[in-house]
């Protein structure tokens, strides 16, 4: 492979993973925008989505079929509907049971709760991996990474070229791009989206205008969870390996992306996601894989210290 081909290859990998990170980052940024909570459990919600998707693959018997067949496509469409609904519902439920009761508490109380939820989710993922299903290796090694079957073929669409561009990369783009456009339309054009932006801007004023604030916050959690669910299916199909502790890593990447783009800003989250995806791919290739994680954390700390409003975020003062 020549130098430029290597570069192009890393660009494709970075772009696809970046789109996935962007979907998770959107969930962070929406929740932060509306209640100023770093939803620590969001990455672990994404992880549970992956386990949900793998369970459905096993239940529908998709792992027995050849990739790219009609049956697999139908099954995947179903998974792409059920998993986001599961994640969205779960996220809504967690808000209803925990964070809603802490709206008036100090800012650290919901954050500490969110760390708690993250740990509970992680433990649920560990137990889930012990499920006696063939796709989970009959639950013998619950803590081990699980193989997600190859359901979309790895054949190179560019023919004989050394650069790999597969149906998986196409899948990532055709799932994530329309979703981001739909989200933009939802927040900008619909009544519910307008209410959401109003609550984010000023909760009390929104309430005075007759907006049911708790309902809107619940909707935000649901939509954020929905996006994490889609991201989990796309991630599992793209990377073919899942693990109960992957949520922590994914969560940090996505949170860094959200902060980098300017937390609270939807286009910022997408931009940040793409940036982090590319940065990871290039660091893996040109520096060393073992320093990639430390690099992401360094980006996170540097952005927080020197430009806490991010690339696209408006400068804002802390609400007292």
């Amino acid at each position: 492979m020549s130098g430029s081909e290597v570069f192009l290859q890393e660009l494709i990998i970075g772009l696809s993973n970046g789109m996935i990170i962007a979907l998770i980052a959107l969930g962070y940024t929406m929740v932060y925008g509306i209640i100023e909570l770093i939803n620590f459990a969001h990455g672990d919600l994404f992880m549970l989505g992956c386990f949900c998707a793998l369970t459905l693959v096993g239940a529908l018997g998709l792992d027995q079929l050849a990739p790219n067949t009609f049956g697999v496509r139908g099954g995947l469409l179903l998974i792409l509907l059920v998993t986001p609904a599961f994640c969205g519902g779960l996220n809504w439920l967690v808000d209803r049971l925990t964070y809603r009761h802490l709206r008036e508490a100090t800012k650290l109380a919901p954050l500490v709760s969110a760390i708690g939820v993250s740990f509970v989710f992680m433990n649920l993922g560990l137990f889930w991996g012990g499920l006696r299903m063939a796709v989970f290796g009959m639950g013998r090694a619950a803590a081990a990474p699980k193989d997600f079957p190859v359901l979309i073929s790895n054949d190179n669409l560019l023919g004989q070229s050394a650069v790999q561009f597969t149906a998986k990369d196409v899948m990532v783009l055709i799932v994530t791009l329309p979703l981001m456009i739909a989200l933009t339309w939802y927040t900008k054009r619909t009544r519910a989206g307008t209410a959401m932006r109003a609550v984010a801007q000023d909760r009390v004023a929104a309430q005075l205008m007759g907006i049911d604030v708790d309902r809107v916050i619940g909707q935000t959690f649901f939509i954020g969870g929905l996006l994490a669910g889609v991201a989990s299916v796309v991630f599992a199909l793209y990377n073919n390996s899942i693990h109960f502790q992957m949520g922590y890593r994914a969560g940090i990447d996505a949170f860094t992306a959200a902060v980098l783009g300017g937390i609270g800003s939807l286009p910022g989250a997408v931009l940040g996601g793409l940036f982090i995806g590319m940065a990871r791919a290039f660091c893996d290739q040109y520096l060393a894989t073992r320093w990639t994680n430390a690099m992401v954390f360094a980006i996170l700390i540097l952005v927080l210290v020197f430009r806490p409003s991010g690339l696209l975020g408006a400068k804002q003062k802390e609400k007292v």
């Binding site: 508490a105 954050l111 500490v112 560990l126 137990f127 700390i301 927080l304």
Partner: protein, 352 residues
């Protein structure tokens, strides 16, 4: 019950009881010996008290105390291990390690302490992960995942601590814990401690009263870091090894947060109780619970539910969620925190 315990200084009672346990074991039957299990609890209590300075007194969350513990453990190991040129004794190495912890705390705190609460928490979390990665990757110095070992045992007036008897270790760690408790108690009552508490209650108001809030917060950060690295140095001396970088992961940091939250933020006795409860739960209750499951054939021994370690995350997670929801002041709250969270309650009336 709690008001009474407050007047007689709960933390001194706990420490006194702890001091009596090895003596009681001389008369009790062997089945009742659990003194050995308490040693890690003492170290976690020192770690929890270090976090308590920042989170409990000053109201800032630190999600990376494990990193400061790692700094302590590795500094101690490098200062004492015979493959390095320093080869200091236990006491001078421990003293130096505390100073190194202080310096690292200042180094991280200087640029980041002005950040708002939740961002500071995330920065400390990032620092915790970077420290782990650095320790893992700089394997020419840190020996990577093997850890630095063997470390010589501590000595005291010519007596060397060995692994045969647990009692000398027990009293060594208890003595360190008692010193840390005494220092924290005095700090809390000092001008500095009152400044910290006023920052926790209202940062803007305390700045208006003439408190240099940045300086005070930085001091809390550095002193907390120094205590956490003391816990790390003692841990390394106990293991006879620096441990591997993965030992100081996010789970340890969250465990320390659990100890402070469950015990009661800003309450020294509360932190000691929290360490006892959280460590006791994860070591004793979970063990008994899973062997109960196995004994009654509710789960087979190969099932994921059968290993006590597999329930830890759930335990810590639920502890944090439930405490925040139902008892945010902790099991043994400090007076100010309780008065703040339950205005007009009994405790308020008791205050002069």
């Amino acid at each position: 019950m709690t008001p009474f315990l407050h007047r007689v200084r709960f933390h001194w009672i706990l420490l006194l009881l702890a001091a009596l346990i090895p003596l009681l074991e001389l008369v009790l039957p062997p089945g009742w010996h659990f003194g050995e299990l308490l040693r890690p609890i003492f170290l976690m209590a020192i770690l929890g008290l270090g976090l308590n300075i920042l989170t409990g007194f000053t109201g800032l969350l630190n999600l990376g105390v494990a990193a400061f513990m790692a700094v302590g453990a590795y500094s101690y190991a490098i200062l004492t291990c015979d493959i390095y040129p320093f080869q200091l004794g236990f006491w001078s190495a421990t003293g130096l390690t505390v100073l190194i912890g202080l310096a690292v705390g200042l180094f991280l705190g200087l640029p980041t302490i002005r950040l708002r609460g939740d961002y500071l928490a995330i920065v400390t979390l990032g620092f915790g992960e970077i420290v782990q990665d650095v320790l893992k990757n700089l394997d020419t110095i840190t020996k990577g995942t093997q850890g630095i070992n063997p470390l010589p045992p501590p000595t005291f007036l010519g007596y060397a601590f060995t692994s045969e008897k647990y009692q000398p270790w027990y009293y060594l760690f208890l003595a360190f814990l008692a010193i840390v408790v005494l220092l924290n108690r005095n700090l809390q009552r000092s001008r500095v401690g009152r400044a910290w508490i006023s920052i926790r209650e209202d940062e803007l108001a305390s700045a208006c009263m003439g408190i240099n809030t940045m300086k005070m917060k930085l001091l809390a950060f550095a002193l907390g870091a120094a205590q956490c690295s003391l816990a790390g140095a003692l841990w390394a001396s106990f293991l006879g090894s620096s441990g591997e970088p993965g030992n100081y992961d996010f789970q340890i940091s969250v465990m320390a947060v659990c100890i402070v939250i469950v015990g009661g933020m800003g309450s020294i006795g509360g932190v000691l109780l929290g360490a006892l409860v959280i460590m006791g739960f994860s070591r004793i209750v979970l063990d008994n619970f899973t062997s109960f499951l196995k004994a009654h054939e509710l789960v087979s021994s190969t099932n994921v539910l059968a290993a006590p370690g597999n329930w830890k995350y759930l335990l810590f997670g639920l502890a944090l969620i439930l405490m925040m929801r139902f008892r945010p002041e902790g099991l043994l709250p400090s007076r100010q925190v309780r008065a703040e969270l339950h205005p007009g309650g009994k405790s308020e009336a008791r205050n002069p």
